[in-house]
Symmetry: C2
Subunit: 283 residues, 2 copies
DNA sequence: TTGCTCCTCACGTCACGTGAGGTGGC
DNA sequence: TTGCTCCTCACGTCACGTGAGGTGGC
């Protein structure tokens, strides 16, 4: 059982939200210590909370979510299928919402029609699928958390001897650098045979991605990401999947693992990074 | 000058919202009668209110909107260009938002993977551009407002003698039947020469639209629309533009105008209507 | 006069967020 | 003991919505 803090980080939800859901009877801790009042949650509760957050992101009120998650209408134990009509309705709402957003995008493009953003040297490329050991977490941006996550992932991979010679990379699940807390997944490529072991998953291929590179420290990434999106102005291309950051040349502690020396440098100015934005739609 | 009621209907905004914006200093009436307190708005204020609603739909707070609409940062009279960096930022937020919604759509499709919605006899077709005299309004759904709007539009067209033999149709700007108030635009096709006269505009062509027909009264439309969206489940097709309702056979008063008799019937059961959903993406 | 529209004012709502002030556990 | 985590409780926030009770204009 986990205390509220660790559980909130795992679930990527604030403490306040968990307490609020408890008070509302929407999502209760697995156990509450009656003397201290401490809430304890189990990892098995994560999928339910994930479904609750999905429903909330879909625009459901908490009352609706309670209907959809606490019991089936027929009194049977919980099955998604029993609520299929409601989920279909949510899907329709979402499709309409996306269409309205696209309409607003066109309105904005019309407003900005006379502003010419500076072009960026972007290349389009396809990205192959790869197996990777990944660690996902919600961290505050700009810190050294990503570094630590990579160190940990590389060490884990080193123990199995499955490392390939591909570059490490990161998936930005928010698809947006401009947040105090970002949801990132660091990925260390491994041999396909390792699929199925703990932490290893297949990263989907990308048919088309817009790519830009930069040298030096990572603080440039948000600005460059913005410029990349701006240069898509007027085009009908859209972000199709989480944005990736590929580390071409970088610094590493190499405590407990060894990397190909062609990746490495001690000089921050020699760092080389590529931002990849998966695309769909007409280019 | 218009009183608050008529203005709110024109602007598709509630009375309460207009009063709230007045109190907040965000959007003031052109004139307030000091003795009665009545608010009076001018039609020239509509574009500003439209921009305010667009910004709010883009997720701006009212404070941000005030910054963006009341003055330029350099003290010059208002120009959109002066705020271009902010608008570009909003565009980026929106693009990221759309990408997140697409992700949630895929999550929902995964949840519903084992549910097979009943297939619908839908056909895909391209729709040509046409000139039409249109009347747009925000009405309560299910009422006879649409009928009245068509009567009025047909009468206007009859006076000019520009009617073509195409079917009348309606654009659903909410793209969603399930609302108490829907934003609809009734369209009466006219000859292209009429473009430029009052109320006449060009309706964009549609490269691909999913189409279904039904007979009888109009209350079936929402259900059928739902079924159409459900049958798009799992596909990557998306709604690309306002949904259309084409009246193939229908009833009409014909007071002040005459329609082609092949359109007309007195028997509600003989009514024939087609729902057209413009699509983009892979079919 | 009736019916409709408009007014203000006070309070409610929704899903949390923000401290204040205090306690539990290693 | 210190530092960190956790607790409750009361209040704030945001963009309105909801009546109640009353007035203006044709």
């Amino acid at each position: 059982l986990l205390r509220i803090g660790p559980f909130s980080r795992l679930a990527r939800v604030t403490l306040k939200t968990l307490r609020f859901y408890d008070a509302a009877g929407l999502f209760r801790p697995a156990w509450t210590d009656p003397r201290s009042g401490y809430r304890f949650y189990s990892a098995a509760q994560l999928p339910l909370l994930g479904r609750i957050r999905l429903l909330r992101d879909l625009g459901c009120s908490l009352a609706e979510i309670q209907q959809l998650t606490t019991s089936s209408p027929d009194g049977q134990p919980y099955r998604v299928g029993a609520h299929a009509p409601v989920y279909r309705m949510l899907r329709r709402r979402l499709m309409v919402g996306v269409a309205l957003s696209e309409q607003r995008l066109r309105q904005l493009d019309a407003l900005l029609a006379h502003e010419h953003p500076s072009g960026l040297p972007m290349r389009e490329r396809r990205i192959a699928a790869t197996a990777a050991l990944t660690i996902r977490d919600c961290i505050r941006s700009g810190g050294s958390d990503i570094h630590r996550m990579f160190e940990s992932a590389e060490r884990q991979v080193a123990r199995t001897g499955n490392r390939t010679r591909q570059n490490p990379f990161m998936l930005l699940h928010d698809m947006d650098y401009h947040r105090a807390h970002v949801d990132v997944e660091v990925c260390v490529p491994v041999r396909p045979e390792a699929l199925g072991s703990a932490g290893v998953r297949l990263i989907e291929p990308v048919a088309r991605a817009a790519c830009v590179q930069f040298s030096g420290d990572y603080s440039q990434a948000p600005t460059l990401f913005d410029a990349a999106l701006d240069s898509m102005h007027g085009s009908r291309a859209r972000i199709a999947a989480p944005v990736r950051e590929v580390y071409l040349r970088f610094g590493a502690d190499q405590r407990g693992y060894k990397l190909d020396p062609r990746f490495l440098t001690d000089d921050v100015r020699q760092y080389r990074t590529e931002i990849q934005i998966p695309l769909r739609g007409i280019s």
